[in-house]
Point group: C2
Chain length 237, copies 2
Amino acid sequence: MSKDRAIPHDFEGEELESVFVGRRDGAARPTVVLIPTVMGVSELEKGFGRQLVELGYNALVADLFGTKFRGASRDTMFGELNRLKSDRAALLRRMRHVLELARGQSEVQSDQIVVAGYCFGGMCALDLARSGADIRAAVSFHGLFDPPGLPAQKITAKVVAYHGWDDPMVPPDKVVALGHELTAAGSDWQIHAYGNVAHGFTNPNAHEIGIDGVAYNALAAERSWTSFINLLEEVFG
Amino acid sequence: MSKDRAIPHDFEGEELESVFVGRRDGAARPTVVLIPTVMGVSELEKGFGRQLVELGYNALVADLFGTKFRGASRDTMFGELNRLKSDRAALLRRMRHVLELARGQSEVQSDQIVVAGYCFGGMCALDLARSGADIRAAVSFHGLFDPPGLPAQKITAKVVAYHGWDDPMVPPDKVVALGHELTAAGSDWQIHAYGNVAHGFTNPNAHEIGIDGVAYNALAAERSWTSFINLLEEVFG
């Protein structure tokens, strides 16, 4: 049913390779740009992409880290995460590059794009919305909420954050702060908080990362996915 | 398609009249007990009940205030609300009475009951869950979160609260407190917060109540209803 296509691209001299997941007919469709976790492009995100294709959308799984980090260790990837997170203006340029890459694909309806990310990728999706990017929605699955410290812009994208209440990286005060920030930016936003749910809840292999407070939760994974599909129906109509 | 049936009942000497909304065939089905706002049983809740009947469930719209308050003024009803809210143990007895009333109807599958309430009724639904009541889920639409001050019980019901972030009756610290309370009680809980949304968002006539911070929001009404239907599919399977 679906077909993967590697898309090599270059961002400020780094070699990246994103993966387009779409139907074989190549028709232009509403598209979800999926921003992976700290571990980079993996079967997890490609699998989510294939589910979206079954529902009539296309997906682009974005590479933010570069081909030289494929298969790198957890420690190496966390080092890269911290490098990218330490310069949020540069990270935003990277996200804009990914968005333009998506818009440039013939299978992508360029005004029908939702950006959704996981963990670190959730923060990246939020940052794109915070920048005023012209996307239909930005969605965070167990993402980080830390504000980018860049000048505030009017947020035109709908924003939804699916959040595990026991996520040690995002305690309740950061949830409240995100609400205030998004309201101040004029956003149409939602935060869905799940009790007794940790960080990384959409990833069946989350325990392999070996960090306390990171765990899969099948119920939260299903609830957030169902809500996400409802959102796509709302925005892509 | 659906049929309304008035059910007179008596609680500690007060005459109440709830309304059962079900299919004409009279078959036992999973049932949602709807707890109205401070204004008591109205066309709003009966309309929600009819939508549930279309989806294959039954509904019971519960009268908490009594027949003598039908058509009473807003001020009178707020007086009654404060009276009921001032004794949460008595209010819980009233809610248990309503639950037993529902269980006693031949059209109600007695182990397939969800209790959902609006505003004050949302608090009543939460109170029932907090008491350890054997119900499948308790759902609050723009409900009050104030804890009842009764001995904590293990919560076996799933709990979902749909909350307008700008609700002046439920500021963010009460949202955070509810999360902590529900986690401590062992509940499988969700709180869905909606940005730029006031109290009373499911009620198209909310503005008639003439209170700042109380307003209908069509998008939040639709989102919460869609999520509620997803929940019913989850628990009634």
